[in-house]
């Protein structure tokens, strides 16, 4: 799961959807991989307004990335900022580990980069 994706993921349990504790999900035992990918500047610029910045800062910090500005960059982004965002959001992914809901404590597994959000019966 890419770091960008975690910014769009919350707990699948319906009752958690409205809880502020459920977002962002928290990583546990995360194994990270970085893969060099061609920069798509247009995408980074378009997606930035649709990012929940505080959640991103929190997720990044929990994985050891502490260089993000504390508030979302506004206006014209400089080249370095775009590259840094690309590296963190698109080139970095968690290939195994768990995502945990801060509200219901349910754990979602990530295996070979693919997270599993299927719920057991008692949570549906």
């Amino acid at each position: 799961m890419k770091i960008l994706t975690t910014n769009y993921i919350t707990c699948a349990v319906k009752a958690c959807k409205t809880s502020s504790n459920a977002f962002p999900l928290q990583f546990r035992d995360a194994e990270l991989v970085q893969e060099e990918l061609e920069l798509n500047e247009e995408f980074i610029k378009n997606i930035l307004p649709r990012i929940e910045w505080p959640a991103l800062v929190q997720t990044a910090a929990s994985l050891g990335f502490t260089t993000l500005p504390s508030t979302k960059p506004e206006g014209d982004l400089d080249e370095q900022m775009i590259k840094d965002l690309h590296t963190l959001l698109v080139e970095t992914q968690v290939i195994s580990g768990k995502l945990v809901c801060g509200n219901c404590q349910h754990e979602y597994n990530i295996h070979q980069g693919i997270a599993n959000f299927l719920l057991p019966n008692h949570l549906v």
């Binding site: 960008l4 699948a12 893969e35 995408f43 378009n46 997270a115 019966n121």
Partner: protein
């Protein structure tokens, strides 16, 4: 990596406002919808001057030749586009129409050129073709012939609608090719990882064009399976994300999987993610960040339509303990699933789209015109405008592609109390009439086994 056609400078000789579109004679009912969608994407005032499903030739009007080249450059069902000089039912009329526009000739006279005679549903000998070409000698072209890289490529298209008699002749200059070669590039026969649910390349590309997939956009397929729509949405530049209730589909086998297909197509940087999820219990944060949703939802139980949960709503509401730990935490745990109605699922897809699409974002999906419960209605939602409804007919069945646009909330006309009551009444009666659920659950014996397995872990 595929990229849009190069912006070559256009010679003045190619300018015009009426253009001939040469279509592939296939998926006819989708052809106008595709170009209309591209016109929305490029914000061009496309007008149809002449069009018929029975002909590969259509005439459109656009402000400039560059617009026409750009529009057709992304089309899958068009083959090419031409600046149209004249069209007629016989050669005498054609020539006299061309000769009435002598101002068109000088800009052509000092460029290398080539002539092609292309005959639809008949054929011409080389000798006949040469005679046809010679009949245009009054253009007085001085630039010299170039067979390989002509600056100007004149085309004479002849159409024989009944295969016997010449119906129409079109004369024009080639402006550009379409993106039809991509049908070959994404051909399932050449794709490393496919499955029984993969959608053919031509229709996947078409679907993504109609969903306005484009560079910089984020596109999602909630029933991604083997990823057919992800590749074609990324082909048009989008960054894509897919999920499926059956994670094995995305994961594939060994090195045959969605990630490696993206590698095969040299588009890895446009694949954001794949994850396992049930659309009706989505983990996606509810906000409007998706530019398009493209999918082929499961049609029924046989095609794997299911959602999380137990058939019996009372059962399994407390975790089952196995050897002191909750069964659902064991790695081999498979959550139980239950059947779900197709129409209910489509309503979920529409509501999901309302909740997650940006203003102007599009939802494009396929559905059969009938399934095991009979004729399927076209689902509606007030926040989605139905833009296109195209039908593909097979021998024994047919399916349709539905394309909707997410309206701005302020443009939505709210349902009146009376309309709401009517809708609910109708739904109630329909449920009673078709005995739909009963039939559905009967056909679900196999799923029971899976559910039991899930519980016993």
């Amino acid at each position: 990596m595929p990229s849009p056609p190069q912006e070559r400078a256009l010679l003045p000789a190619l300018e015009g406002t009426k253009f001939l579109v040469h279509f592939a004679q296939t998926h006819e009912s989708f052809r106008q919808a595709e170009l209309d969608s591209l016109a929305v994407y490029y914000n061009l005032p496309l007008e149809w001057v002449e069009y018929s499903d029975s002909s590969p030739f259509a005439i459109i009007s656009l402000p400039t030749a560059a617009d026409a080249r750009k529009l057709i450059g992304r089309s899958i069902l068009a083959k090419g586009v031409y600046t149209l000089w004249a069209h007629a039912e016989d050669y005498d009329t054609l020539h006299s129409q061309i000769q009435k526009q002598p101002h068109l000739f000088p800009p052509c006279q000092h460029h290398t050129f080539k002539f092609t005679v292309d005959t639809f549903q008949s054929s011409r000998s080389i000798k006949e073709q040469h005679a046809t070409i010679a009949s245009f000698s009054y253009l007085n072209l001085q630039g010299g012939i170039s067979m390989k890289t002509p600056e100007l490529h004149f085309f004479v298209f002849e159409e024989f609608p009944d295969r016997k008699n010449l119906g129409r002749i079109f004369f024009g200059l080639k402006l550009g090719d379409s993106d039809r070669d991509s049908v070959n590039r994404y051909d399932l026969k050449k794709r490393k990882y496919i499955g029984t649910t993969s959608m053919d390349a031509e229709l996947s590309l078409l679907t993504c064009n109609m969903a306005l997939c484009a560079p910089g956009k984020l596109v999602y397929d909630p029933f991604a399976g083997t990823g057919s729509f992800l590749y074609t949405a990324s082909h048009f530049g989008s960054t894509t994300m897919g999920s499926d209730i059956d994670g094995r589909q995305l994961r594939g086998k060994k090195d045959r999987n969605v990630v490696n297909n993206f590698k095969q197509y040299n588009m890895s940087n446009r694949y954001l993610d794949g994850f396992t999820a049930d659309l009706t219990n989505t983990p996606l944060r509810k906000a409007r960040y998706l530019d398009a949703i493209v999918c082929d939802p499961p049609y029924g139980v046989r095609e794997g339509l299911k959602v999380l949960g137990s058939r019996d709503p009372e059962k399994g509401k407390t975790p089952v303990m196995v050897g002191g730990i909750p069964g659902h935490l064991r790695p081999e745990y498979i959550p139980p699933k239950r059947p779900f109605g197709f129409e209910e699922m489509l309503d979920e897809v529409l509501q999901f789209s309302v909740d997650y699409l940006v203003d102007g974002g599009r939802l494009a999906f396929w559905m059969p015109t009938a399934n095991e419960d009979g004729e399927t209605g076209i689902p509606r939602n007030r926040r989605l405008r139905l833009d296109h409804h195209c039908v593909q007919t097979f021998n024994k069945w047919s399916r349709r592609l539905l394309v909707y646009t997410r309206l701005k909330d302020e443009d939505v006309v709210e349902e009146t109390e009376e309309e709401k009551r009517e809708r609910e009444d109708k739904r109630g009666t329909a449920d009673q009439l078709n005995g739909f659920r009963k039939k559905y659950f009967e056909g679900f014996k196999a799923q029971d086994a899976e559910e039991e397995a899930g519980k016993s872990l």
